[in-house]
Amino acid sequence: MRSVLRLACAALLTIACAATARAEVKLTWFMWSGSEPEVVAWKHVAELVHEKYPDITVEFQTTSFPDYWTKLPVLAASGKLPDIISLQSLRAPGFAQLMEPLDARIAADKFDIGAFEPSIIKGLQRGGKQYALPYDFGPLVLYYNTELFAKAGLPEPRPGWTEEAFMKAARALTKDGTYGFAVSEPDAFIAFARSKGASYLSDKGDLDLTNAGLKKAFADYVALVTKEKVAPLFPASGTQSSSVANGRFTAGNVAMYVDGPWQLLNIKKKANFRVGVAPVPVRSAGSITITAGSGFGISATSRNKDAAWKAVQVMTGPEAEKYLAEAGRAFSARKAFQENWFATAAQDVTGAREAINAALATAEPFVTTPNWSVVSALFLQYAPLAYAGSETPEKVLETIQTLATQ
């Protein structure tokens, strides 16, 4: 018995010595991903940290995007938050409380925050404090199928194209089981509403879905399915409407739909036609789209905050941003590397450069409420009632407002 104990002590001592001698830090990093190539890209980013700081190893942990936001609070509740947390700008108001403000570290290291796009820097703030450094951002744009446009003899959408041109195209493209457009919510609808000058937030920044302007905008949006019949009816389901729209678009069944530049690589992989990109149509208030993006920050409960800060700087640093842009995973949050995205991911996409530049000229950061994931889920659950004509669009917005603010 005694010899066993002695052996165990010796083993423990050896381990302890080895640990202190090398002072290695193992960081955990939690991030969403939707495909194997994405996982490969993120693991490469983690590797970059180890290359720069050989004593730091970043362990990549991942899950799907919707599950990420379910697991993160559970990890927080069980005291198992990773050292590095990934944060999307729409979720910043709700989840920043799990994270450490970075302002003191940014100031101490004289870290150049000006190299990033200002709107996404702001998007990852809460209460004036910076909670994450961004790796990507982008405006919602309109993806279209160039072949279907050519077959219908329609001119391809260009920056400045109007609502009338959009409707004409949507009607002409809707035939033989194919649809001109696909609706999704809430994000794509918010871009639609903003272009009509309607707001979804009150002046104080609270959720306000029941104002007359937004009700009218939602009624118009729903009419694309119910009255105009240029967009298919999707049932409420476990798949987000934007993913269903993406699937129907890449299958060639829908000619246009609205999504972010982060989808471009996945779209190109699945679609066997040439893809085009245009800004959302000019409506009564202009072509106003919303921008969103994501970044990395440090968990408030991490025991390795200094190492995590070093890692986050590398993960959003020039080398990582160049790699992510060229791999097509991210429209870079660093202004200097946006060109790499245009030159690689978007090189065989019609109109990508002018569409994104035009969209950015009038885009607004997507401002949300702290419970935005609830609002989002409610839209997915209740909007189909309006699309199916079972309830009026106005009533649906009233229900979502009531349930989201109860």
Binding site: T70, P73, P232, P235, A236, N371, A388, S390
Partner: protein, 294 residues
């Protein structure tokens, strides 16, 4: 001497029981107690937590705009699904047991869906039921226009019933089938000689003799259908609107979408109470129709 041995037996028994008891305590009793305690708090995973007494329950019964609808949906689903499941499983079991050949094959075929992952199954059903899907296309081919059951809030629950039936009736069918096989042929032969037709043999002999299995199947099916979650999660996420939101899904939604775990725990305890009440009622009623004296 005798009492010492008895004590020795008791120690041995306790030792043998310990692992099971430990598991039961750790993984059942403790979480149960914890969820009851949670239901009196406003725990939201993130942020401060405080004890709020009965406020969750008060809100559930008086202020929640969807709770009563969700409870009604759950009960309607359970009633419909339970009856259809038992009738279908029994009918299929009787039919298969009457076959001269291929009983094992048919049992296997109808039991297959039971061990198919429901999430995958639900995705396929979703594709078939969606507007423009194969079911709508099939009806259109026959010149029929039928309302789409998954987008119509009045019918969406039927989609859940349909998928649940398809995937789960095989279990009861197997259970009833085994009970039917166990009926001594002499009873049926004697009844046939006395002039009892197939119908009379079913109602007067087979049904009473398999009633313990029927009871077991009914109780278990009622409990699982009250807890229904995965079909709803995979198929409709409670939508359109709240037309397919069951208590099981509402617990998940409040807990892991809205992050109100205290509130979710209070719904879980309401569900627990409903299940207890229904099971107690069934145990009480069984005296009238279940025969254990075969």
């Amino acid at each position: 001497m005798a009492s010492r041995r008895r004590r020795g037996d008791a120690t041995t028994a306790a030792l043998f029981l310990a692992p099971g008891l430990l598991g039961l305590t750790l993984f059942l009793l403790l979480p149960l107690a914890a969820s009851l305690a949670l239901s009196f708090t406003n725990w939201q995973v993130m942020g401060e937590t405080s004890f709020i007494g009965l406020a969750n329950y008060r809100r559930l019964f008086t202020a929640d705009p969807v709770f009563w609808g969700v409870l009604a949906t759950t009960l309607a689903y359970t009633a419909e699904y339970l009856v259809l499941n038992i009738v279908l499983a029994l009918a299929m079991a009787v039919w298969i047991s009457s076959l001269p050949w291929g009983r094992t094959l048919f049992r296997l075929v109808f039991f297959l869906p039971t061990f198919t992952p429901l999430v995958g199954v639900a995705l396929v059903w979703l594709l078939m039921l969606s507007p423009g899907g194969v079911i709508e296309w099939g009806f259109a081919g026959l010149g029929l226009t039928v309302p789409n059951i998954i987008t119509d809030p009045r019918l969406a629950l039927q989609a859940i019933v349909l998928v649940s039936l398809w995937s789960h009736f095989g279990y009861n069918m197997l259970l009833f089938g085994a009970a039917l096989e166990a009926i001594p042929a002499t009873y049926l032969d004697a009844a046939a000689i006395d002039g009892a037709g197939a119908w009379a043999r079913f109602w007067k002999i087979k049904l009473p003799l398999i009633s313990p299995s029927l009871f077991f199947g009914t109780v278990l099916t009622a409990i699982t259908s009250l807890q229904t979650f995965d079909q709803v999660y995979a198929l409709t996420r409670g939508g359109p609107g709240s037309s397919t939101t069951t208590l099981g899904y509402a617990i998940y939604n409040q807990g892991f979408v809205v992050y109100r775990l205290g509130y979710a725990s209070s719904i879980a305890w309401v569900l627990f109470a409903v299940i207890m009440a229904l099971t107690a009622l069934q145990l009480h009623l069984q005296r009238r129709w279940v025969h254990y004296d075969a």
